[in-house]
């Protein structure tokens, strides 16, 4: 009971934390709404965007970032990038190591062996 309440509260706080810096000047329509091709969805996207930013931020935290770092990093992304990350943060390419070159040797050996046979 207490923990589910805490969860809800946390979610709300995250949405506020993430959403507030994005409020543009009241009355002006943001540039991103014109850039987005699907303008019919603009208003709904705005709501979705705040929710999925909170989502991505909490996923980033689960992957080892502090809440502030996660928030700042999400703030630098576009709505489209956030939407893409939201469901696939575990599977999208994460550039890392150069040592993987070693695997190319294995490919080479494998192919060489197959061809020779």
């Amino acid at each position: 009971m207490t923990s589910s309440f805490a969860r809800v509260l946390c979610r709300i706080l995250i949405v506020c934390m993430i959403g507030l810096p994005f409020q543009v000047h009241a009355g002006l329509i943001g540039t991103d709404q014109v850039v987005t091709a699907e303008q019919a969805l603009a208003a709904r996207d705005m709501v979705n965007s705040v929710v999925s930013r909170a989502d991505v931020a909490s996923q980033l935290q689960a992957l080892g970032l502090s809440p502030e770092t996660a928030r700042d990093r999400v703030a630098a992304l576009t709505d489209g990038e956030v939407a893409k990350l939201a469901g696939q943060i575990q599977s999208l390419p994460a550039g890392a190591d150069g040592a993987g070159l070693i695997l190319l040797i294995l490919i080479g050996v494998l192919i060489w062996w197959l061809v020779k046979k």
Binding site: G95, G98, G108
Partner: protein
């Protein structure tokens, strides 16, 4: 023989076998060899791009440090690691590489996915970060490297990668490693800088992303560059109006939105924003006319347009103008 040299040898054996077997094709390399791209110097090497050696898993911060410094933004592996490295993935995501570029006040522009575009940008003095898969498609090992030059006579690219400050890779080697990422390459552009291979919509979106990330002054210069090339671009006019407003220049903001309404008379958002800025300037009669036009055009932003009109009418009532 070093590990990389062995890997290289392995690659060529694999590539030769695959090519002979017809399993893979490298169309871009074939095209470059058949018809070398016109109007480019035979050889380019951007020696001023500094090298940052990567520790394990940190090729994201290292490659980013190279291109940011090349664009005049001081950065180091240490300063960028907290901005892009994701401990749980032991690597850096493409979106975050772009986000960190914006946080440095630069436009993060995904390049047209071709070797030729890469060469054209190099010839214009811009290095690019490329995303490579060093392994099988079904068990990828992703890696970032920076391309800093090419040599058409040798058919090679010059690359900074991993622990190597300078390496020469054949067209085929780069294309082979590059293809699984969809030939993803990233440019970090200074404010006001237009890529040699710029595409209108993609560049406009890249500048809008910088604006949204908080780089308004930088975005203003890039919007101007965009409009210098494509004067009618709606996102450019609109974005310029929004950043001028945010930076407090109402006259310039109104002028940009005015241009947007003239070039795009069907754009409700352009009329809405023009009305809003005119009202701020106290030009209430003109503001009302623009707001009425925005309401008449309707569309997905009708709710905002109605609000704008209401607030202008309220202002006119109280001020008696």
């Amino acid at each position: 023989m070093t590990r990389e040299a062995r890997a290289r040898a392995g690659f060529f054996v694999a590539l030769a076998a695959l090519l002979l077997g017809g399993c893979i094709s490298l169309p871009q390399t074939d095209a470059l060899r058949a018809t070398p791209p016109g109007g480019l110097p035979p050889r380019v090497e951007l020696e001023r791009v500094p090298f940052f050696e990567q520790d394990d898993f940190l090729c994201g911060p290292a490659t980013l440090a190279m291109v940011l410094n090349a664009a005049g933004r001081p950065a180091s592996v240490e300063s960028l690691t907290p901005q892009v490295y994701l401990p749980g993935r032991q690597g850096s995501l493409q979106a975050e590489m772009m986000g960190a570029t914006r946080r440095a006040g630069l436009v993060a522009y995904p390049l047209t996915p071709t070797l030729e575009a890469l060469m054209r940008e190099l010839a214009a003095g811009r290095p690019a970060i490329v995303l490579l898969n060093l392994s099988f498609r079904f068990a990828p090992v992703w890696h970032y490297a920076v391309v800093v030059g090419y040599d058409q006579d040798l058919g090679k690219f010059i690359v900074r990668s991993g622990r190597k400050p300078r390496d020469e890779w054949s067209y085929a080697f780069l294309e082979f490693l590059w293809k699984d990422s969809g030939h993803w390459a990233l440019l970090a552009l200074k404010p006001g800088e237009l890529p040699a291979t710029a595409r209108e919509a993609e560049f406009a979106a890249a500048v809008a992303a910088l604006e949204n990330a908080g780089g308004r002054g930088e975005a203003r210069e890039s919007y101007r560059a965009l409009l210098g090339r494509w004067p009618q671009n709606l996102a450019g006019l609109f974005g310029l109006g929004n950043v001028e407003y945010a930076l407090g220049d109402l006259a310039a903001s109104a002028a940009a939105f005015r241009r947007a309404t003239e070039a795009h008379p069907q754009s409700g958002p352009a009329f809405n924003n023009l009305a809003h800025v005119l009202a701020q300037q106290g030009r209430l009669a003109e503001a009302e006319a623009a707001a009425r036009k925005a309401v008449a055009l309707g569309g997905p932003t009708l709710a905002e347009a109605n609000k704008t009109l209401e607030s202008i009418l309220a202002k006119r009532t109280t001020s008696g103008r």
